[in-house]
């Protein structure tokens, strides 16, 4: 079956007074129907910009420079503002990182969720909308939903607010849910609740999820496939088991080495990846990770590596995996 979302060679830039920030530089991936794609990367890797590009929520300075975004086979990049509006919230909904600031402080929560229905289901009466909002609140396990319609965001905790955000996003039964670090701002115990809630709602509604995070642990809980982003590019993409069992890209390996492991010897220190992400106004000519990569070769800094098929349905962007790479010093073969 055709994937619900197909992104091909997406380039997105922001025009700033210092120059063009090339946040996304040719990203391609699919989100399969009913499945979850995790997009992992550190700050500035372009993961959030990728998701905002899909909904064209880039603001006045952001521009999609090239590429194609297809929702259920329908091209989105050429859509007018008006056409995009019916897609936003209606067919693709989004949840954002900080539930404390993502809800309007002056509008009752019931109205904020109801506005989604007001916009996309115009025929619904006010009473029907309120009923539906109560139903949605119940679905995301907000206690005493009837009493919460008139509540304001400041009366809710962070976890509860994120539930409201999820209720809002799911109000019109979107085909695709984009979750941009939805648990990053929450306590670990609340994170777990929210992830479980998202997983059970996904099973109930059969929707597809694109889950953006910097936290590999969160990805492990939820994702079917993972794309690891760095410097505006996907470094490695594979199914969830292969990424954790058998990472092929030095960046993925570095990321995995930097998370603590329960079973690990406590005297062993965590291994950070040295250095900092590249300047995206003047991105490096070759592999963006080369300056930080302990296995980097001369070619890495000068030429963009190709994607190498590293197994059934997985790929990595690395010169080390190139068939012509020297055997010596290559830790992966």
């Amino acid at each position: 079956m055709e994937p619900i979302l197909q992104v091909r060679d997406l380039h997105t830039s922001f025009l700033t007074s210092n120059g063009e920030v090339q946040a996304v530089r040719g990203v391609s991936f699919d989100v399969e129907r009913g499945k979850t794609l995790g997009i992992v990367g550190e700050s500035g890797s372009g993961k959030s910009v990728t998701s905002l590009s899909i909904l064209k929520l880039l603001g006045s300075t952001g521009k999609i420079r090239a590429g194609s975004i297809k929702l259920d086979g329908e091209e989105l990049t050429g859509k007018s503002r008006k056409e995009m509006r019916s897609i936003r919230g209606g067919r693709i909904a989004m949840i954002f990182q900080d539930p404390m600031t993502s809800l309007n402080p002056l509008i009752p929560l019931g109205d904020q969720v109801g506005e989604m229905l007001w916009e996309h289901k115009k025929e619904m009466s006010k009473e029907k909308r309120d009923e539906k909002v109560i139903e949605l609140f119940r679905m995301v396990r907000i206690p005493e939903p009837e009493k919460r319609l008139k509540a304001y965001p400041h009366e809710f905790s962070g976890g509860m607010r994120q539930r409201v955000m999820i209720a809002m996003a799911l109000a019109c039964r979107p085909e695709l849910l984009i979750a941009d670090e939805p648990t990053t701002a929450l306590d670990v115990s609340i994170q777990d609740q929210i992830l479980k809630l998202m997983r059970s709602l996904q099973q109930e509604m059969g929707m597809s999820i694109m889950f953006i995070t910097h936290d590999l642990g969160v990805v492990a809980e939820l994702a079917d496939r993972v794309a690891v982003m760095y410097g505006g590019l996907i470094m490695e993409e594979a199914d969830i088991y292969s990424i954790f069992q058998n990472p092929m890209h030095p960046y993925t390996i570095g990321l995995l080495a930097s998370i603590p492991d329960m079973n690990q010897d406590k005297s062993k220190r965590l291994v950070p990846i040295p250095g900092s992400p590249p300047d995206m106004i003047r991105p490096p000519k070759g592999c963006p990770f080369a300056p930080r990569c302990q296995y980097a070769m001369r070619i890495c800094a000068n030429e963009m590596p190709p994607y190498v098929k590293t197994g059934e349905n997985r790929r990595s962007m690395c010169w080390l995996l190139d068939p012509e790479a020297p055997e010596t010093g290559n830790p992966f073969r």
């Binding site: 929520l57 954002f96 993502s102 809800l103 309007n104 916009e119």
Partner: protein, 305 residues
Amino acid sequence: MTKFLLKRLGMMLLTLFLITLLTFILMHSVPGGPFTGEKQVSKAVLDALNEKYKLNDPLWKQFFDYVGGLLRFDLGPSFKYQGKTVNDFIENGFPYSAKLGGITLIFVLLASIPMGIISALKNGKWQDMLLMAIATIGVTIPSFVIATGLIYIFSFKLSWTPVYGVDSWKGYILPVIAMGGYSVSFLARLMRSSLLDVMGQDYIRTARAKGISETRVIFKHALRNALIPVVTVLGPTVANLLTGSFVIEKIFAIPGMGGYFVNSVTQRDYTTIVGMTVFYAAFLIAMVFIVDIFYCLIDPRIRYD
């Protein structure tokens, strides 16, 4: 809410009392008195005057006599104008000042808020540049210069408006622009920066992600949030405008409160100075109070209990 209102009322009366006390002390500590002038008054007359206005009493007694009068809304007789009371001055002057101020206030609100909104939405474009250039002029050039310029062009050269007086509606045009110019500019800038700030907030992105129209994003989600800082400064602005501007009233010969106030200071007319100050202060405090109630209405996060 009742508890809050009572507490607030108590605070307001205390503030008013302290302002009265401070003005009273300051006034009496300045050398000279209401009857010192170029023409020497004879000792006998001076004694009689001091006796009549009870200026020989100890200061604390004078003060409490005055406060006693205040409680009966009696601001006392003028020392300078025989047979006139301070209440007379306010009754004569305030309606003129309030009418001019009220019209100016409406003009200020109708001009500044749309200006700020347009500037913010057209951030960096020519509309923004133009409006903010006008606002900069409005903030930097004093009202009497604007007034003089306006009179020169519209009254003197074009003869569209009268040079002075408010006998017809046309007479209000120039004073309103001259008096409101500063507030329009100031509030327009505030509105602009506030709206720009709000438009960058996460909840605006959430609203856009719902697919609602940009008009609705602005009017339903952004504007109310952006108005909060504007409402804050509105209290003092309203009090300022309604109690009159001496300069504008002088230039356009409008018999408002401003003239009485300035004259009373130069003439050391004790009761008028304190009376006008207390009146102005009471007005200002009341306006700030109204603003606080407005806050409650627009921002659910604020609850006064």
